[in-house]
């Protein structure tokens, strides 16, 4: 016979069983969440970006803007063509360079360079940029994304590895009014 308000042995065992399963679930959740969040963790530790070569400086004539292609540093064997990332290299005066991401700063479509009018145009929603990457017209809120770069042993190196997007481009240089500056 049970007194009102008292806990029977069966009730207690069932509650303990639920508690036991809750603890097991919490323990298992740790590796599952870490597995799912691993792309975020890698990005936060800055493990995606690295310096890589776009090749010999001779490929980029003075005063011109040329398409360059690099193999993304973080890559799987089954990535196929998708790991070959294009970018625009502008040789300003033989000394200074600008390296622009291919992705429009609006929604990421590939911008094309028109040397005749010295403009970058986007085929998706009509974004247009000047030759220095600053915004000319259309829906983009800012200029083209610009990679950090340096020249070493006659080669042009850029720091790249992550697709630039309007909200996650803090590791890239921003162009606002024609002159590059760091964010």
């Amino acid at each position: 016979m049970t007194l009102p308000g008292s806990v029977t042995r069966r009730d207690l065992l069932m509650k303990l069983g639920l508690l036991f399963n809750g603890i097991v679930a919490a323990i298992l959740a740790v590796p599952i969440v870490r597995y799912i969040m691993s792309p975020v963790a890698h990005a936060r530790k800055g493990q995606y970006d690295s310096w890589l070569s776009l090749g010999d400086l001779g490929q980029f004539p003075t005063g011109q803007t040329r398409l360059a292609i690099y193999r993304n540093p973080v890559v799987n064997p089954w990535d196929g063509d998708t790991a070959d990332i294009p970018c625009w290299v502008r040789n300003v005066d033989g000394q200074q360079f600008q390296v622009f991401a291919i992705n429009c700063a609006h929604l990421g479509c590939p911008v094309r360079w028109f040397p005749q009018s010295s403009l970058f145009m986007c085929p998706c929603h009509g974004g247009v940029y000047y030759q220095d990457g600053s915004r000319a017209s259309g829906p983009p809120e800012r200029g083209l994304f610009q990679y950090h770069h340096k020249v070493e042993n006659g080669e042009l190196l850029i720091k790249a590895g992550e697709v630039p997007t309007p909200g996650s481009a803090s590791n890239l240089t921003s162009i606002t009014s024609g002159l590059p500056r760091c964010v």
Binding site: P39, G108, V111, H125, E162, T165
Partner: protein, 494 residues
């Protein structure tokens, strides 16, 4: 026949579902609901069945790997017997499924079926719309071509705009730093396991409630829903004037479902499968990515929103729309069901339909985008070159070479990003033309750094010839006066 009966009885003795099934099938429904208006929900379900079957067929060949997916689609299209037809059925099935879900939703809305006691049925229906659109988007990604690749880029750019969480969301969505193998694998998991699982669960709950609560009766003007009396009234209606769902009402569902399946097969046969378009190679930048039909309106909206409005609209818009849909049955849970007494409901549907239709139509000729090859492939109309001076013709050359034609149309040919220039000389004076070309403005880039004085002079000379015959070009009266040799010129007509 006897053997069948024996087997059936043997099975039912163990399963014990026969009586429940029969009762469910023969449950009484209001007589007027045996209508051609009540067939769209079941048609969506039938198409979903087709999608499951054809989806499993495609999974027999498809390789969810960024390096191989495109090749496996080519194999399906060209090498596997009738692979193209199964792909076409699945692709057209997806278009029809979205269409059926939308039509069903409009019908349910106009017939007031979301009112008490079917609020939860409506809300699960909204979830079903979301997962159906989710299937359409993830399916478009699995067709791993150029459109899919850049579509993912657009998705990542939108996700990145979420405050604080944006960069996380991008990495989670892509499964890594770039659009690559991991991205396709996770969209495969979403399209094949996660979203279909949700879809089946939601369909189960949705159908259960339709059976438990009964099909919405035909709305009659003046028959008002009140929480206190509705259940009793509905029960009396089905008792007095009800008919068994099977077979009296179900035959229309069967015929319409079969007709829709045949239509899908006809479209598949006639139009064939969707793509794939070019290889998903990001280094091929000569591409103009476009989304599938049901997302075209969004493509147009994203082009037309002013830059400052874009992020708020992208992030707040969907939340507001979903809240409105979820709250609808709670705010308008009682009252008139008939569309004849709900003019605002009818107008809302018309407004949404006209808006979506207009945006979809606009996306067909993308007036917001420069025509990338107009400068090299669209000639200046000959009537604009006849009897022109050497300088003016030189200006026409500048117009082509500096890609003005990509954004400005002449005689309806060329880009529509900027205004057509057929009568620009009537609107702008010589000085205004020079200013506009050199400084830009009003969404036009400035060409000052990129045009020599000689090129500017020639271009403006050409632009000044662009006016309809009989309509003189604009001129600056004060300038004429200022440059006149004597002040008497003011009163002398030109």
């Amino acid at each position: 026949m006897r053997l069948m009966e024996t087997i059936g009885k043997w099975l039912d003795d163990r399963l014990q579902v026969g009586a429940t099934l029969r009762e469910t099938a023969e449950h009484p429904v209001p007589r007027e609901t045996a209508s051609w208006f009540y067939v769209f929900g079941s048609a969506a379900f039938v198409v979903f069945m087709l999608q499951i079957v054809t989806g499993i067929m495609l999974a027999l060949i498809y390789v969810p790997s960024a390096g191989e997916a495109w090749n496996s689609l080519q194999t399906l299209n060209h090498s596997v017997t009738l692979g193209w037809f199964i792909r076409a059925l699945h692709g057209w099935g997806s278009e029809f499924m979205v269409a059926m879900v939308l039509i069903h939703m409009v019908q349910v809305f106009l017939f007031g079926a979301y009112k008490y006691p079917r609020e939860l049925t409506w809300m699960v229906g909204v979830l079903l719309l979301l997962v159906t659109l989710g299937m359409a988007f993830t399916g478009q990604v699995l067709r791993f071509d150029q459109d899919a690749y850049w579509g993912l880029g657009i998705g990542a750019s939108i996700a990145s705009r979420v405050p604080v969480m944006g960069p996380w969301a991008v990495n989670l969505m892509l499964g890594g730093p770039i659009i690559a193998g991991a991205t396709l694998s996770r969209f495969f998991a979403l399209h094949v396991f996660v979203i279909p699982g949700l879809l089946i669960a939601f369909v189960g709950v949705h159908l259960l409630m339709v059976i438990k609560l009964g099909i919405n009766e035909w709305p009659m003007p003046g028959r008002v829903v009140r929480k206190a009396t509705y259940l009793k009234e509905y029960h009396e209606l089905t008792k007095k004037d009800g008919i068994p769902f099977v077979p009296t009402a179900v035959w229309k569902d069967l015929f319409f479902g079969g007709f829709i399946l045949l239509s899908i097969a006809a479209c598949a046969l006639y139009f064939g499968p969707f793509g794939p378009s070019g290889r998903p190679d990001p280094t091929i930048i000569q591409t103009a990515p476009r989304p599938d039909f049901f997302f075209l309106w969004l493509y147009a909206v994203l082009s037309l929103l002013p830059p400052s409005m874009e992020t708020p609209a992208l992030l707040v818009g969907p939340v507001v729309a979903l809240l409105a849909l979820f709250l609808l049955p709670f705010i308008f849970g009682e009252g008139e069901k008939s569309w004849r007494r709900r003019p605002i409901a009818v107008l809302s549907i018309l407004l949404v339909a006209v808006s979506l239709g207009t945006f979809t139509h606009l996306s067909g000729y993308t007036p917001w985008s420069p025509v990338m090859d107009a400068w090299s492939s669209t000639p200046i109309p000959p009537q604009y070159l006849r009897n022109r001076s050497a300088l003016e013709r030189q200006g026409a050359l500048v117009f082509q070479l500096k890609q003005c034609h990509n954004c400005h149309a002449l005689d309806n040919q060329g880009g529509k990003r900027g205004p057509a220039l057929d009568s620009v000389a009537v609107l702008l004076t010589h000085d205004q033309l020079i200013r506009q070309v050199i400084q830009g403005g009003g969404n036009m880039p400035a060409y000052g750094k990129n045009l020599s004085p000689a090129e500017t002079t020639a271009l403006v000379a050409f632009l000044e010839t662009l006016h309809p015959p009989g309509q003189p070009p604009a001129r600056d009266v004060s300038r004429a006066a200022a440059l006149a040799p004597d002040r008497g010129a003011l009163s002398t007509p030109p």
